[in-house]
Symmetry: C2
Amino acid sequence: MIGVDWGTSSFRAFRLGPDGAVLERRADSRGLLSVADGRFADTLGEAVGDWIAAGEARVLLAGMVGSRQGWREAPYVPCPAGGAELAASVIAVPFEGASVRLVPGVSALDAAGVPEVMRGEETQIMGVLGAPGMDGLVCLPGSHSKWVEVRNGRIAGFATHLTGEGFAALRGHTILGRMMREGPADIDGFDRGLARAGEPGGLLHHLFGVRTLGLTGRLAETAAAAYLSGLLIGHELRAALGSDAGGLVVDLIGAPALCDLYARGIGALGGRVRRHDEDAAAQGLAAIGGMTQWD
Amino acid sequence: MIGVDWGTSSFRAFRLGPDGAVLERRADSRGLLSVADGRFADTLGEAVGDWIAAGEARVLLAGMVGSRQGWREAPYVPCPAGGAELAASVIAVPFEGASVRLVPGVSALDAAGVPEVMRGEETQIMGVLGAPGMDGLVCLPGSHSKWVEVRNGRIAGFATHLTGEGFAALRGHTILGRMMREGPADIDGFDRGLARAGEPGGLLHHLFGVRTLGLTGRLAETAAAAYLSGLLIGHELRAALGSDAGGLVVDLIGAPALCDLYARGIGALGGRVRRHDEDAAAQGLAAIGGMTQWD
């Protein structure tokens, strides 16, 4: 089987063995944004046509390719959703020479009834916690960080935080960015921001402190971006975990450098992490593909 | 006496009677950013030279003109600071034909020891609460909203929130702005954002809800900016006042449309407001000028 994690700006393909082992892999920049005029079938053929010619007859696609902006919309499956629910809701798209299916996203309501959506993350989660009966809290940090509660191997609910994108907007487009200079990673600045998030006053007040600490010479220009990052991640962690995460274990999926920061923040609150790399997507595609009705 | 509120992008001059009454006023766009090569004296002469020629010999300037980026730096006066402390720390600058003084800014430390600064707002506050013995909480909403505690007619402490600038960055430079369309003021959208701020999950999570409510058709594109504004102002108010402001009276100084929104938010928490227009600056300049040693 072929599994593809196809996002807005990335395309990662895996040739998977019957046991889910990754036999071969490819990554390039054929993200949705690079696909003109709905040429998804052609793009897929260019990317993995040789694998199909060599005998792979099943292709499972996850990620934004299944959104309204993608190949075709695979409607969100409401929580609770596990591998079986996802596999039962895959959507077929026409393709010459292979069966191609799109994995749906997952929707939820938060505690106050506000809707939540994910697309792509559900597949990574299935790769990590897809075993029936497994419970846990999964965090996928990023532009839109996801905190996912898994119960009995199904996604029970989740909450998204606009942390990464908020960081970029605040750094790039407010007065805070004007006092920032590139420099080596400043883990001390990050830790200070993280600690600040636990003090009273609220995030909007803490943000202004990035400026005043700089103005008064108490925060170096090369440490200010790390401080801002710690501040935002610290607020996210406290909202997701409370101020005491003692005894809690969080499954962390994402880019290693970003997961380092989250692991550090979760540790500062007393919690522990289990780390998974982005190959979780390959494992999830294999798991969902194994439950999919292909004919 | 002549009083001038001279900010980064604005210039407002008042000709003041001995009792502080505004005899004449002028406002234009001669803000700091428009003054080239340090030509502050020339600019002042162009703006109010006729008033000086007609006999006004004292000119008091407040605002960013007293910052490092202005005419000359008038160092911050630490809290507690009232009219007497401000008047004792004015800085003279050379000017042909009149005595010209710069009002200093005010600095503080927040509860956690993080520095705070204001410049310009101290003069507006003196215009509103300058009377000795007056106590209260003053809010000056804006790009960098100030919450100021006044005790015995002096600024005892204050906290700044990056609300207005954060709003502009999030609206202009994140995915949230892509689902916003201009429309008539949507007070219902604002109220919904305000209420959302009182729900669990934290600001970064609430921000993502602007997107999902839009995606699911539960928030109109023309209401989304108002919702985001309510969300941020709601978080600011709860950080500044707590979730119950019953019995509290806040003195509100600023642009009328923005003060409308803050008054609405403070009212929703059970508090009341006293409103002051931006002429507070004129009253503050008169008050500080009356205590200044001019010779």
